[in-house]
Each structure stands twice: as C-alpha cells, then as structure tokens.
Point group: C2
Chain length 297, copies 2
C-alpha cells in the first residue's frame, strides 16, 4: 500500500497512518459487511450537510440494530476536522470527499448473531476531490441497466450498509457494457437509482425522481434538489417511473454528495433528449456547486 | 478484544496473534463487503470437503471478478494446517470450524470501481466446535420467514460474498420473533434457504430441497445429502417449493458445513409433522457426522 504513504485515517478517536493495519480480521465489517457508511463533501474544511449525513448514518445503523453510542456526532465532527487538517485539506481551497464507516466491531465468536455488547469500529477517510472529468460534463454519462434488481419491500432497501457487493458488481457490469454507470430497476420493474447516485428526469416543466418506495437511498443531494426545483421553476415530482420514462425524458441527471450533479445523455445505447447535457441539468449543477462552496450564502 | 487473547489468525501467509489489527481500513472487504468466504469443519485436523469449498470460493470470487491467484489452494491448505496446529485443534480429538475469507484487498482510492491490480487479502480463522445444543437436537429448530427476500434472477444469488447484512438482519429478525433461524423466500414466493443453511423436506419416501434456481447457495452438505438419500432409500428431488410445502412436510431439516444436519420442528409457530425431530432427519444426521469423522471410511 505504498500509495497510502504519508496519508492518514481516523479510527475510534485517533489519527493513524493510512498504510498500517487498523482493523481486526475478526471485525464484522470485514467478515460480514455488517456496517454502515456515509460519503460527503467538504469544501474549505466545511463538511456539506453533515447533520443530514449523520442522521442517515444513525438511521442505517438503527436499521441493523447497531448502537453507535451517544457521542458519535461529536466524535465524527471533531474527527473530520482533525483528519482534514492532517491531510492538508482543511484550508480555504481544500476540496475533499469524506467517508465515515461504522461497523458492528470485532467479535471473537463466529456466525451471524452479534455479541451481546458490540463495540462498533468507526473510521473516517478523506481524499482530495479531483476535477470532474470533462467527458462527464461535456459528453454526459452513459447508463446501462444492471442485472441486479432491488427489492422495494426489503427492510434494508433504504439503509446505506457496507454490504455493497451488488453495487460493485453492477459498476463492473456497466464498465463491461461500455457505460459509465449502472442503473438499478426494482424487482417490480420500476426505476430505482444508480450505483451511488439518485436519478432525476426533466419532462417539460416537471422534475421527476423515483419515490422513496422505489428501493432508493434517500440522498441528501436528492432532497436539496427537490427543494431547489420549485424555487427554480420546475415542478418536483416523486413517483414510480419506468425505464421507458427515462428513455423519453428531455434531460436526465444523476446526483450524489461528492460528484454533485452530472448529466446523463445515453441510456441503453440510445440518446436521451438531444443526447447532450441539458440546460436544466447544467443550471442545477451550477446551483449545487455554489451551495457546496458557500452553504450559508 | 481480550477474548481473542492467546488465539491466532492466518493472514496472507503468516500466523499472527488474533488480538492485534490485521487489516487496512482501506480494505474493500471492510469498506464494501467486496469479498467472498467459506466455512467448513475440520475433525482431527482434517478439513471436510476442502476441494469443494475451495472450488466454491473460486467460483464466488470469479463471479465478482476477483482473481485469487494461482497458489490459493496450496496456500489455504497449508494455512489451515498451520492455524489448526497453532490453535491446538489439529490433534485426533480436534473439532474445528474454519473460515476462509478473501477480500479484493486494500485500495487507496475511493468508489466502487476496483483498482487495476488488486491484491486480495486472504484470512483464515478457526474456532473449536462447541457441542450441539441439546435443544437443537431434541426439540429441533423453530423457523420464521424473513422479510428479506432473495432474487433468483440476481447474478450474485449463488455467490457466497461477505456482503452479509441481509443475513445478519434476518438472523436478528428471527430472534426477535422467538425463532432459531430465518427462512428466506424468493421474490417470486418460493422457498429458498435459511441464513446459513440449506433446507430439506421429507414427504413420504421423497427428500425435497429447493433447486439451484431458488436463489440458494449450492451447499456442500446439500450435495452430500442428495447423494446419500438415494443410497438410504429416499428419492432426492430438487424443485420449486412453497412455504405451504414446508408446513405440510412429514419432517424437515437444515444442513450446513459446521452444524451438520439439524431438525426443524416448527415453522411460523406451527409444528411440522409430529413436531419432533423425525427419524429420517436423525438418520441423515448420524450418517453425516460419521462421514465428517471418517470421510474415507
């Protein structure tokens, strides 16, 4: 792991070098994907929408019956500040992606049932955000449908767990298909989300996105966009959408905390709308980037 | 992790103390459940059906596009021997459960796409097998249906990945329902499997189990039982089964590599057959335990 040399990680209250071992092989995060996570952006040392991300981390953990303890929010806030400083990403020009991972912790026993008194492992990592690839902005993203389907009835559908093999698989599958990302459908055939982003469709003056019952993660950027749309003159609609709705949209875009808003210009090999990034997409992206740069402004 | 004191783990070719950190927080196994595993039993230092488990580990890894390298089988065989010796489980009375975990390894970057040249992390753990709880043998297991459903069309349905949050959830759900284990149905309503075991139904002279297209793991013990049944005078049948078939069965049992064959006597609160462990179940269990004790005999 020479490429981790000189870098750091925050783990359970301490800053440690990134290139050494940190985690027990007995950790249930490593053994069973028994954990939850959040990824967010920090500009100028300021984490964007941290309370929203921490609230979702708690909800995900509670969904798995993992008790993250009373001081989590305080610890994470201090941990992010310390890690960004250690990584040289806390200054006014710093632009970082931050990942918070919380597993159920190490377990001397075996099997799926957790120990009576688990002690969660909490990790924070940070990376500089590279410039968005020109292709992603000028050409737009190409999406392909994944063979993996999401079950809207699953009690874990809205939990951001570290059991992500499905998503890794779909991302590799998309690359094999020559696409930039995969789009999940639900087991009952509705649009769900991309591997790490929510999807929006512009249809006339309407901005449509799969509703919360479509096996999506309730994205923080998704919520922000739904608020922005009304003010910008687009009617926000959360509903059940079909793949044919995406194919017939005027514009489409993905949104996530780190990458922000990115245009989608092809779906299953065919152009969406004019096949170029649409005007509403670019307007939304600019508004979101401005918000991230100066959330209070 | 004081309860790991004095114990050992094998990791990437070395025996290490169990209570120290072994794994990078950047390991994709910890971050994303991006790994595969196997669990098997070793009696008298002899791993049961090791070639079958190693073949399935390879298949699971290949399904996720993880290349485990050419020396895996040799390394694991030597590693199990070294670890069982270190743990005092290699002697003639040793009875161990052994877990092999292989993740895609540490990754300095972020996101779902793996690095170009991943270096997998391979871990072996061993535990003494405790005596089977008397309740499990004399009273039998009680099963409840999980709210988690398995998609038989998923490309990952037959892969034993470390993305196990669904299974942990189901196991906790079963405990809340007062049951010993959860039973998954498929998204199209057929019987699938328990959280870490395959299921069999005795119906007259027939021994039925969900077919491979029912989103099950192709268990090594399941295969062994299908071979044993014919010789023992039961007709083995792999098919699509409904929850009502389980409720109406004469007997039912679960099977897995470590726990072997365990009777199922209640399903969703109602007795199966006479509500006590059935004669075919006990016969199958005895035959399997004899095989594990002396596989060549």
């Amino acid at each position: 792991m020479t490429d981790l040399g000189g870098r750091h990680v925050w783990i359970d209250g301490r800053i440690e070098p990134a290139h050494v071992p940190h985690i027990s092989a007995f950790d249930r995060g490593f053994q069973l994907g028994d954990g939850v996570f959040e990824t967010l952006r920090a500009r100028g040392g300021r984490p964007t929408e941290l309370p929203e991300h921490l609230a979702r981390l708690r909800r995900s953990a509670t969904g798995l019956d993992i008790d993250l303890g009373p001081s989590l929010e305080r610890d994470i806030e201090a941990g992010i500040a310390a890690l960004l400083a250690a990584e040289g990403l806390a200054g006014p020009t710093g632009d970082a992606s931050v990942r918070i991972t919380a597993s159920r912790g190490a377990f001397a026993g075996r099997g799926l049932l957790p120990p009576e008194q688990p002690r969660p492992t909490v990790v924070i990592q940070a990376w500089p955000v590279p410039p968005t690839p020109r292709d992603h902005l000028e050409r737009g993203l190409h999406l392909a449908v994944s063979a993996v389907r999401r079950d809207p009835a699953s009690p874990l559908a809205a939990l951001k767990t570290t059991s992500r093999a499905d998503y890794v698989y779909a991302r590799l599958e998309a690359r094999r298909a020559g696409a930039d990302d995969a789009l999940f459908l639900t087991t009952d055939g509705r649009l769900s989300e991309a591997t790490s982003a929510n999807i929006f469709l512009v249809r006339g003056q309407e901005l449509a996105t799969p509703a919360l019952d479509c096996a999506i993660l309730p994205g923080t950027t998704r919520s922000w966009i739904l608020g922005w749309a009304g003010a910008a003159g687009l009617a926000p609609v959360e509903s059940s959408l079909a793949a044919s709705d995406l194919a017939a949209a005027d514009e489409a875009f993905l949104c996530s905390s780190v990458a922000g808003i990115l245009p989608v210009t092809r779906f299953e090999g065919a152009p969406i709308g004019a096949g170029v990034p649409g005007p509403w997409t670019l307007r939304a992206r600019a508004a979101r980037e401005a918000f991230i740069a100066a959330p209070a402004g």
